[in-house]
């Protein structure tokens, strides 16, 4: 059984602090859900734990079974058993899904060893089937031209194949219709076991109807401000977040304030300009 321990985690992006002291312990067999309005740092927490290069950790620690995760490169974290189902997974043209997952699975084996092709194909086909995805998936390029829902399912497919110890699913429910949500929920629930610690990040309660969580946490201003069980979720479901803000005396819960993007001026084509035409 694995334990992920996050202690007083502070992180910033471009000099702006977003995580302001997160504490959380996730044990194998447990399911945690972090909820909260937009811009409170939920996704940042997921990215920081996985090691996205954009973020700098300024204080605190993250331990996986006692080992310092923050000292590991992204790929080492993955091989140690961490998994992040991403909100916006990158598209990689020319690389097929099956090649990618095969390479990822082989990366977990000793050097020189590789998984049996037959076993891989069977496992892959079963996973595609269970997630009700198209049969041509193995030959399609990684996330290229995928709809939002397909991307999310593909993340779950990878999780199924890679069998992590601690999995963080970042807004895996956004962009999914009810049917797809059900499929994703059932598949994640089916994966639950004593060796898997799950952290769900969401701002919809809907997901938790399909994946039961043992612990509910609410994040505001870059830290976890309230924890509880499913009762907490039900109260949020009916009353929203305002009562928590009131209770804690928080006025603005956000740490990330979306700036309005500057308008792009449609002008001269760049090529024309470069060639002085």
């Amino acid at each position: 059984m694995s334990i992920l321990t996050i202690k007083n985690l502070h992180a910033e992006v471009e000099g702006k602090e977003i995580l302001k002291g997160v504490d959380l312990v996730i044990k194998g067999g447990e399911t945690h859900a972090i909820m909260g309005p937009n811009g409170t740092g939920k996704s940042t927490l997921a990215s920081v734990v996985m090691g996205h290069p954009k973020y700098t950790v300024t204080k605190g620690e993250v331990l996986l079974d006692g080992k310092n995760v923050l000292e590991m490169a992204v790929d080492e974290r993955a091989r140690a058993g961490l998994f992040l189902g991403m909100q916006h997974p990158a598209e990689v043209p020319g690389v097929t899904n099956s090649d990618f997952i095969k390479t990822a699975m082989n990366a977990r084996l000793e050097e020189g060893k590789s998984i049996s092709l037959f076993k891989f194909i069977k496992e892959f086909d079963d996973a595609v089937d269970a997630l009700k995805m198209n049969e041509d998936l193995p030959h399609r390029y990684l996330n290229e031209g995928f709809s939002g829902g397909e991307k999310k399912r593909n993340e779950i497919l990878q999780m199924k194949m890679l069998k992590p110890k601690i999995a963080i699913l970042d807004e895996i429910d956004s962009g999914l219709d009810v049917d797809a949500l059900k499929v994703v929920g059932e598949n994640v629930t089916a994966m639950k076991n004593d060796n898997l610690g799950l952290l769900l990040i969401t701002h919809y309660q809907r997901l938790l109807e399909y994946i039961k969580a043992d612990f509910i946490h609410v994040m505001m201003k870059g830290k976890i401000v309230k924890s509880g069980n499913m009762d907490l979720m039900e109260r949020i479901d009916t009353e929203g977040y305002d009562w928590i803000k009131e209770e804690l005396g928080i006025e603005d819960e956000r740490v990330i304030v979306e700036e309005e993007e500057e308008r792009v001026l449609l002008g001269v084509c760049a090529t024309k300009e470069a060639l002085d035409l």
Partner: protein
């Protein structure tokens, strides 16, 4: 008209860089060294296809028939037609679709190589052609292939040029496409040579479709220039240009893509995309995606994205446990897929992938 002069053959030996491809898995192949056919191994699917050395066909009707095709102002082309010392004529008869690919290996050993290959596809015929260019000794290489696609015919043209740093090369691949015919050029330029390579597609009649995909990797002190021109000379024609480049070390790689739609060629489609990765601090990669359009009623697009390797892609692949090196390798291999998926044997695939890995180290 082209002038063919045969140069002497030094010996019948093949370098191991080429002989390794001759396996049981490989079918339908011709190996030409210095303009002499060393090996010709064709299955019965090529029984009705006329395949001849250029020397036998220099006075033939086909060359007279297409004489105007060989009139050109281009110096490299002119030189090629006057000084040809290697080449093939491949003539697929009417209604004849050959699915098995034809593999042609062009090898240089003695002096300069001036090659002229001529592919004629009669009405409703089909050909899958593969070529591999290789040089053993210091030389100039002037390689030309012309293809004529008559009505409703289809050409799949796959090329690998793997010329060594000892060569200086000019390559011209030209295609003339008639009504409803379709040519697809997938070319991998994995040379160490200084090279000027051109793919020119002329869409001569309505509903002609031409696609050129070029994968180019440059390394060390190499300078390479790749020009793709698709000219729409009839309405309702479609032209697609896709370029994928990786520039490493101190090399310079230039893509010059031109989609040209002439006046009155209404409802034509011209699309172009360039993708490039600059690996070295001193590497350079230029892409000039040009559209020259003299008609209003068309669909056209062009774009270029050049930069270092994408951080988000690397992060994503690494977050699944791939090392940085493997993640980079996978992203580059993604660039190669247009050509890689066309290669018919494991030896060819392995050679291609290993060459690219060496060039991108």
């Amino acid at each position: 008209m082209i002038n063919f002069t045969k140069k002497p053959l030094l010996n019948n030996d093949l370098p191991k860089e080429i002989s390794k491809f001759i396996t049981d898995e490989l079918t339908n192949y011709i190996v030409i060294k210095d303009g002499h056919v060393l090996i010709k191994n064709l299955s019965e699917s090529y029984e009705d296809v006329e395949i001849k050395m250029a020397e036998y066909s220099k006075d033939r009707l086909v060359y007279k028939q297409y004489g105007n095709l060989f009139e050109t102002e281009d110096e490299a082309l002119k030189y090629n037609y006057e000084e040809t010392n290697s080449g093939l004529l491949i003539h697929v008869p009417k209604g004849f679709a050959v699915k098995d690919p034809l593999h042609v290996f062009y090898v240089q050993e003695n002096e300069d190589l001036v090659n002229n290959t001529f592919i004629i596809l009669e009405t409703s015929s089909e050909l899958n052609y593969f070529e591999y260019l290789y040089n053993m000794n210091p030389c100039h290489i002037n390689f030309v292939s012309n293809s004529i696609l008559k009505q409703n015919s289809k050409l799949n043209y796959t090329g690998i040029s793997k010329l060594t740093a000892k060569a200086v090369a000019t390559v011209n691949r030209n295609s003339y496409i008639k009504r409803y015919a379709n040519a697809e050029y997938n070319v991998a330029e994995i040379n160490d040579a200084t090279i000027d390579s051109n793919t020119t597609i002329k869409l001569l009649e309505e509903y002609a479709v031409g696609t050129t995909k070029t994968v180019a990797i440059t390394s060390l002190e190499q300078e390479a220039r790749f020009t793709q021109l698709v000219e729409h000379k009839a309405p309702d024609t479609e032209g697609y240009i896709d370029n994928y480049g990786v520039s490493n070390n101190n090399s310079i790689l230039v893509f010059e893509g031109i989609g040209k739609i002439n006046k009155n060629m209404k409802r034509s489609i011209a699309r172009q995309s360039n993708k490039g990765i600059v690996l070295g601090i001193n590497s350079r990669l230029d892409a000039n995606p040009l559209l020259l359009i003299d008609e209003f009623d068309v669909i056209a697009s062009h774009g270029a994205a050049i930069g270092k390797m994408d951080d988000e892609q690397l992060y994503y692949l690494m977050s699944r446990g791939l090392t940085l090196k493997n993640a980079e390798r996978l992203i580059i291999s993604g660039f190669l897929s247009p050509v890689l998926k066309k290669l018919s044997t494991d030896e060819l695939k392995e050679d291609f992938v290993l060459t690219v890995e060496n060039k991108t180290l």
